[in-house]
């Protein structure tokens, strides 16, 4: 019986090996679908947008004519927004992470905060827009201002920063902390002088990723009222503003043939900014690659 079974199995082996090969190719093909999509998308946008992309485009304001339209107001607006986010979300985010990792006792309340943050990360961005609309625009009377937009975005990316910071703080090896405590350092001294420097690359990387999210988000800004047609840069925190994705969206909306090309040019600028930010994140990560 044994012999027979072995022979039968041997015949099946060919089929099984073949099946494996087929699926290998299928899995590979499936993997490339996403990549092809990405390539196609980038190619389309590049070829569409390149003709409108010049210095004037970078220096121009949204205009009623495609030839004169530019991204400057959006670019500057987006930069202002992420500055607000950086100040606000990073301070609160990193502090929260420090509290959770270094100070919090492992009790129910801590777990509550923790799961809260996780859930916050899963809330759709548009809901943050609604929060911003009620809280900042109406209740705090900030109106459709730069500050209202920036604060809304800060809330949106807060969980990203908290989670990334927590991870990198947790990754700081205990022996470094021990070394510091062992010399009579206090907790805060240890955190400031040992934990934070060691966790900094991770925190910065996480923060940059959060900022790039803030740069690309459109929906919440639509809700808290970034303007589409604006010909000056924001003059104050309470001034009106626009942002790159908002401008791109308004160009996409226009049905005449030239506007998609302008939109594509805007998208190129947006993607280049994102690429720059991610490159910086990668550089920081590599530069400070952990040596312990």
């Amino acid at each position: 019986m044994l012999q027979k079974q072995q022979e039968k199995w041997q015949k099946r082996v060919t089929k099984r090996v073949w099946l494996n090969k087929v699926f290998h190719s299928l899995f590979f093909a499936a993997t490339t679908v996403g990549l092809i999509f990405l390539a196609l998308l980038l190619y389309r946008i590049l070829t569409q947008g390149i003709s409108y992309l010049d210095l004037d485009f970078l220096q121009g304001f949204p205009a009623p004519y495609p030839e004169e339209a530019g991204i400057l107001a959006g670019l500057v607006g987006s930069l202002y927004i992420i500055t607000i986010v950086a100040i606000f979300a990073i301070v609160i985010g990193v502090s929260t992470a420090l509290y959770l990792e270094e100070y919090a006792k492992k009790n129910r309340f801590t777990r509550f905060i923790q799961s809260n943050i996780q859930n916050l990360a899963g809330v759709p961005s548009i809901v943050f827009g609604l929060l911003g609309l009620t809280l900042f625009v109406y209740i705090l009377h900030l109106g459709y201002s730069l500050l209202a937009g920036g604060l809304t975005m800060s809330l949106l990316v807060l969980p990203i920063i908290v989670v990334a910071s927590q991870e990198s703080i947790r990754a700081v090896p205990n022996f470094l902390k021990e070394a510091s405590y062992g010399m009579g350092a206090t907790k805060w001294q240890t955190i400031v002088r040992v934990v934070l420097p060691a966790a900094l690359p991770g925190i910065i990387t996480g923060s940059i990723l959060a900022l790039s999210r803030a740069i690309g988000e459109t929906a919440p800004l639509l809700v808290v009222g970034a303007a589409a047609a604006i010909y000056t840069l924001p003059d104050s925190l309470l001034g009106s503003y626009t942002a790159m994705p908002i401008q791109i969206y308004s160009w996409i909306s226009r049905p005449q043939e030239e506007w998609p090309l302008v939109a594509a040019a805007g998208i190129i600028v947006l993607l280049v900014v994102l690429l720059l930010m991610n490159t910086i994140a990668v550089l920081i990560r590599n530069k400070f690659k952990k040596r312990y």
Binding site: E178, S180, Y181
Partner: protein, 270 residues
Amino acid sequence: MSIFTKAVIQDTEPVQTNKQSHVFEISDLNLWYGEDQALKDINMDIAQNEITAIIGPSGCGKSTFIKTLNRMVEMIPTVKTSGTIKYNDRNIFDPKFAVEDLRTQVGMVFQKPNPFPKTIYENIAYGPKIHGIKKKQDLDEIVEKSLKDAAIWNEVKDRLHENAYGLSGGQQQRLCIARCLAIEPDVILMDEPTSALDPISTLKLEELVQNLKQKYSIVIVTHNMQQAARVSDKTAFFLNGELIEYSNTNKLFSNPNDKRTEDYITGRFG
């Protein structure tokens, strides 16, 4: 078949613990990790300007014990202790005795070299800085002195501002000792300081420890009995959280009182 023969016969003075002045006086120390008792009724005095070795099989509580001396063990939240430890006649568990103060006077060197990911200079200057010494001149002086005391000055003097992780394991460990010396503690605790090092670095470090004895009281944990025999004045043998035997090193290795000590030092278990 004892492998300690050489070390054992050098010195034959009797145990003198009672007459000496002590940096630590430990009475009835018990310690639990949650439900598990890791130290049981330890009574032990640690003499000044001597080297005290702690030996025992893995898991017997050596690290726990030494970490209790500077209260580092409390970093684990489940730890509970009872009993007293007097450091220069002050109870270290006294709430008025800040741990930071205790640790400033009782330094520690760990099993794995753990320099900060900073420059060599910054590593040494860390301690003085956190204690408020900021003047560059003072710091320079301290850095040089500590590195010299730790017998590593010559190797690193030209690269003080390079990252400490560029050093070899043995150099890193001496750097950690120098870092510890920079705040001139009274006592230095060492938890298996050579276990991650190669034989040559180990010898260098043992030599250094011997020299430090003149200025510091040293407690050293080691799983290497030869090392204990080579460097220490007194040796304590722990087993399952109990202090089984504690006497002059020569006495303990040549003529142990307890059967279990004998079994252990002759390699019958552990």
